[in-house]
Structures are given as structure tokens and as C-alpha cells.
Amino acid sequence: MEKDIDLINAYLNNSLSETERLAFESRLKTDATFYEVFEEHQTIIKGIERVELLEEIKTSKNNYLLSKWLKYIGGFALLVVILIVAYSLFFSAQSEEKQSDNNTSFEVVKDSVVNETLVDSIPKYIAVKYHLEYILDEELTSRYGGVETMKDTIIKEMFGPYTIEEFKLAFPENDDFKKENDTIFINPNLLKEIEKAQQKVQKESKADQVVKLVSKNTESFFNSTKKEAQVISFNASEDYQVTLKEGTEISIPANAFINSKTQKEVTGKVSLEVTEYYKLSDMLLADLSTKSDDQILETGGMLYIEDKKDNSNLKLKPGKELEIVFNNKGRKDMQLFNGDKANGVMNWILPESTEIITGQFKSTSQEVSLSSEYYENTDSYSNFELLDVMPRHPNCEPGDNEQLKQCFNEEITKFVARKFNYEIGERLNLTTKENIYVSFEIDRRGNIGKIEARSKYDALAAEVIRVLELFPKVVPGKKNSRYVTVKYRFPIVYRILGSENSTPVTRTSRMIVQQDSALIIGNKKEVQKEIEEKPISEVSKSDLERYTLSTTQLGWINCDRFINSKKNKIKYNINISNAEDANVKLIFKSISSILPSRTSNGFYDFGLVPVNEEVILLAIKKKGDKIFLGLKELRIKATSEEQDIGFKEVSLSELKKELIKLNSNF
């Protein structure tokens, strides 16, 4: 019997030889008892197998149930997260109004000198007092430098004597206040009206206003000292022009705004909030500095522009531009920079498409252009006509060779016109056009190389080489499906416009991109016409000194120029022993420039700084509620210096006065 079982096992395990297997199968057919044993054996084994299978199914089932529950839990967690986000969004939308009802608690305290009870019939004096507490939401804080949530409690105390009768008369819609002992709680909506009523008083007493800062953070300190914006309402569907308090002119084309969230065009009444920063003190109080990456800028004024409709932020529609005329005094070659605040330090970035046109168009202007004889390719290794694919600038769409060629021309023209330092031409006192012959190669990797330039004036040639060295990497040209080096050769024309004209020359520069000047000047034509219409004699001096700039972006805008100082530059850092995390800046006396610093352990790093400059070292630090100011004049000599700054305690109004004193340096 046992032998039969062994045999069956061997058969089931397929370990029998071919002949044995055949013998086994024929025995199954002939031997009925053996067949029965075999069947029975199989049944038992399958029964045993079931035990294992059932075990597996049970685990699978449990796993299935577990994952199902995890899904439910995960879904629930997601729901919770969504609810929190939705709640905080709702909440932040409220707090952006800055005087959200939730956060505002204020009370009307009855003047203690006067009567104990408030009876309508007898006029009694009450004092209006309220605490205004607002939490800047994340969006706001990040705009001001990405500080974590700040809680500034600003307690304003205004003692407005009112009788109950007067109070009711002044605020007829808000007479539903409740009396509780000697405190009256009013409908929070009243706050706005009280503020309105008190605004005059507030303005007069502004300097002495009690501003308590709970946060120790200097960022939040600067937020509190920041200048108030001017709010202008206008109809977005029409062209609009406005002159601000400090002389900035802004013209806004019709239908220029879209809602930054919904991307829909905005019509009707919108409000423009602009803050002007021309004075050094205003800039310093707003923690502004003038630096673009590692380069120092000289500023001709900064603006912070925000556009709103019903509390939602707007942005400029692509293709629309704001014309800004900066109230600028005699600085040339200004460009528009857009601000980007990272780690508390403002970095100004030159946007892709800015051109500068100074106010005077009839006067002498310079321009740099590429002549039409672009590619005189004479080189043996790739002739243009023989190229399969032309090199392509990253800003260009792939297309046929003619399109690529034209687009490449446009890009390189724009690039040279934008980066060229026009002061060089001015210094040379050029009166006629100058040709600069340029040749370079775009190698197989798309890099520009072998740049050569020839000109009567070495400075012009050197400047063109400097500019072209900055030219970005492009997609290289192809021949026989292999990347090849392509040689370019063309003249660049540096021309003083209007020099043929015998009218006296006013030295204001104009920077335009030639090629098709009508096209590129484009929407600036109107401005041009406007000024052209004026007889030359009537063009006032201020017109000449102003800059019409256009911007495609809102937010921080700076009218600046790069400092192309010939002076040697050094890496400059200062060790201030008693700094205690003060905010330290360098103010350059010869140029309107504010340099921020990066700090660690009392070391303040300013990056590359021109040597031998007279500067003012300005340090502001906060300890608790006290403000300390440190000022020191010095001349930059050594790379690393020890400095002791005598900090003195100042009140906010004293600080402002001290900073205003510095304004003459700009």
C-alpha cells in the first residue's frame, strides 16, 4: 500500500520516467482499486491544499479591507486639509482688508473724569479707544520679504471727546453700541468711520503716534515705517493719466488689467496704489536697496505699484504697458528694473523688454544698430547657403531658415541695443556715425566665441565685445545632420541721430533698437508725437531730465542704471562687534546707491564694492521696543574692516528726522 502511495506521489510530482509514467497511466485504466486509491489520494491532497489557500485568501481579504480603510482615512485627511486650506484662504481674504472684524477689537471707554453712568439725556464725554490688531497674511508678508507670520499689534489711542448725543449724531448708523459697566462696545463697522473722522487729527499727530511693535523682527519694523501708498481710483476701460505727489507721471492704456487669479479682463472702477520713493529717507525706511545681482545700481527713484479691484489684485495684461515718467533730476541712461525681494534683500532685475526713451526726441540721440548686411559669411567651414539648419536663438520658434535668420537678427539686435553702455559713446563725444565691424562664431555647442571687433575707437570695440560675450547659448547650426560652427560677420552702426541737424545739441541720450525702428518704438509713438508737437523752445528743462519708461509688470519698479565705475572693486565686509543683528546698509555719496548686506555673526558682507568711495554706514537695530540708530561716514579702503558704531537710542520720529538729514546726499 505504502509503495502505491509513493508511486502516486512520484507521479503527481512528475518525477517518473516516461516508461514508468505510461505504465502508471495504463494501470489506472485497468486496476479499479488502484484508481480509487489514486482518486482518494488526490482528493485528500487537494483538501490539504485548501487549508493553505484559505489562509492566503484571508490575508488578502484583510489587506483589501486595510487598504480600503486607509483610503477612507486618507480621503478624510485630505478633506480635513482642504477644509483647513479653504478656511485659511477665507480667513486671509478677510485679513487682507487689514481691519478684519475678527481681529479687531476695540472699545469705547467712558472718560473716568465724567459721570459714572451714561444716560442719553445728559451729554457726557466719552473717550474712543481701540486696539487694532492685524495679522498680515502670508501673501502680504512674502511680498514684504517672506518673513513668517507676523503679529504686529498697533495700539492707537485716540481720545475723541463725544457726548452720547454727539456720538450718535456723528455716527447715526452705528448707534447700536452696548454698554457694559464703564465700557461701551460698538459695532466693529464703526471703526472705519471713526478713522475717517479722526484722520485729520491723526495726520497732525502722526509723528508722535504711539506705535508699539510686538515683533522684534526688524522686517516688521520696516513694514511699519513704510510710506503710505497713494490711492487713485479710475475707470479701467479708458486711458488714464495721473501725476503723483512727488512728480511721477503714470499713463495707463485702456483695458490694460486682468485679474491675477481669474485672468479675466477687468472693467469699471479700479484703484491704483502707488508709493513713490525718491528720497533717501523714504527708501531707507522701506528697507530698499539698489543692487542687481552683484552689480551696484544708481537709482533714479523707485515705485511700488499695486492695482486692485474690490480687494483682488490685478496684473497687466500681456502686451499692455504702463508708461512711467520718473521725476528724475539729470541722470542719464536710466533703465527700468523690476524688484524681487528674496531673503529680505531687494534684488533688481532688468526685464527682458525694456527700452528707454528720454523725453527729448528732437535732440541728438544715439543708437546702435546692425546694418542690413548681416551675414557676409566668407568662412570655408560653413557657408550660409549651404547650411541645412541655421543657428537658433532660444527665444525663436523653430521654423525655416529664413525665419530663423530673421529672428536671430532681431534677438542679437535687441541684445546689443539693450546691453550697450551708451555712456562710452557720450564720453567719446561722437558726432557722426561710427561703424564697428564685428565677427564671431557660434560653435558646435551653440556657444559664442572668437569675438572680434574693429572700430576707430577702441572703447566702442571693447564694449561690443563685452556685450557679445554675454550673449546666451543658442541652438547650433546643422549641416548634413551634424552640428557645425557658423561664422558671422557684420558691422554695427553707432549713430548719433539728428547730428546732421544744425540745431543746438542737448545732450540727452536715446536708446532705441533700430532694424525697424518704427516697429520697436511702437506704442511709444504717441508719447513721441506729444513732445514733438511742442515747439522746441517750449520744451522745458524738466522734460529733458525725465525718463519715459514702460513696464509690463506691476509691483516694485526701479528707474536705475548700472554703475560702470572704472574704479577697482574689492570684496568688502565689515565686522561690527555690537551689531546684534542690526540691518546694515552702505549709502554711496557720489552715486544714488544703497547697498544691502548679508550678515552672519556680526560680519556684514557687501559683495563687490568700488574702492575709495565715500560712504555712509547706516545701521538700524531693534531691541524690544527700542530703536537704535548708528551712522558712520567712512571711505572704503581695506577688504575687511572692524567698525565700532556708536548706537544711540531714537524714537521713531527722531529716526525719521535723522534719515531725512541724509537726503541731501542723494
Partner: protein, 180 residues
């Protein structure tokens, strides 16, 4: 997960994962049983049987799944449930289509195995383990002897034979009582 992917899991020996996927079909099978006077635990048992039958068929080289897993499991479950209820009329059995016949056969076969399982479960723990190791896990007597501390392979083999015979005895008496 698509049927193809589940099939691939079976082929790659990832039976547990495949079962887990198939459990997603359970709620629909449960509805079937509940609407036919069954309880939730009935539904659970029926679905287990259906999965076992599916697995057995998949292991057969000549089996081909002609419909979706759901359709197959649904009809198997229906047969299993009707069988336990003994509600098949002669007319119904007569009218079965060929595919249904094979399913019905499989269900009846499985009934046999189920009673074999029951017999097996009546064995002592040691016997159960020994048989499982040899027949399911395909362990050699040498390993089994070591693990279960038998004196030798021969003793282990002998012991296995005895256990198997015992299970068969129980099984025989069971089927007799069912038949009588």
C-alpha cells in the same frame, strides 16, 4: 486593475496580490447572496469558495478564462450558493449550457475537497503540519525530519504515511455518513 494585470499576478505566483484585487468584486457578490436569502457570512464563504475554484482552474493547463473575472466569479458564486441551498431543480440541471456544466462540475468537485479538508482538520496538529509541509510546501523528508525532530527520514516518511491514512479513514467515514 485590469483583468490582464490580475492574470499576470497569478502567473507570476503573486496569488495574494491577485486575491486582494479580486476582493474589490466582493461587494457585488455579497449583494447577490444577500438578495438570495443569504447572510453576510454566507456571502463571505461563497466568495472564498469561488476564489478557490477560480485558482484551481487557473492552475489547470487546459483552462481558459473566456469571460471577465467578475462574470466568472459571479456565476461560480451563484452555483456555490444554489448548491449549498440544494435548490437545483432537475429542469435547471437539464438546461445547463456547456460552460455552466463545467462550472457546476467544478463546484461539485470542490465539495469533495472541502470534506477532505474537514477530515484533514480533524487530525492532530503534528500530523497536519507534517502533511502540509510534504504535500503543499514540497519539503523533503530530510528537512522535515530535522525540523520536526524525527529520528530519521525514514521515521518521518513512515509517520507521514500513517497520518495520510488516518485522514483518508476520517474522510471515508464522513462521506459514508453523508451518503447514508
Amino acid at each position: 486593475m485590469s483583468d490582464d494585470k490580475i492574470m499576470a499576478l497569478f502567473k507570476n505566483g503573486k496569488r495574494e496580490k491577485a486575491f486582494k484585487e479580486l476582493y474589490k468584486l466582493y461587494p457585488r457578490i455579497e449583494k447577490l447572496i444577500l438578495s438570495n436569502n443569504g447572510t453576510k457570512s454566507d456571502a463571505n464563504d461563497v466568495f472564498q469558495e469561488a476564489l478557490i475554484i477560480l485558482n484551481r482552474n487557473l492552475e489547470k493547463s487546459d483552462f481558459k478564462l473566456t469571460s471577465s473575472f467578475y462574470t466568472y466569479l459571479y456565476s461560480v458564486s451563484r452555483f456555490v450558493w444554489k448548491d449549498t441551498q440544494r435548490k437545483f431543480t432537475k429542469q435547471e440541471l437539464h438546461n445547463l449550457q456547456s460552460e455552466e456544466v463545467s462550472i457546476f462540475d467544478a463546484v461539485l468537485e470542490e465539495q469533495k475537497y472541502k470534506s477532505a479538508e474537514k477530515a484533514f482538520r480533524e487530525l492532530g496538529e503534528r500530523c497536519q503540519q507534517l502533511l502540509q509541509w510534504f504535500y503543499v510546501k514540497k519539503m523533503t523528508f530530510k528537512v522535515i525530519a530535522e525540523q520536526m525532530r524525527f529520528k530519521s527520514e525514514k521515521v518521518a516518511k513512515n509517520q507521514k504515511y500513517k497520518c495520510l491514512q488516518k485522514a483518508k479513514d476520517i474522510y471515508r467515514t464522513q462521506t459514508k455518513t453523508v451518503q447514508s
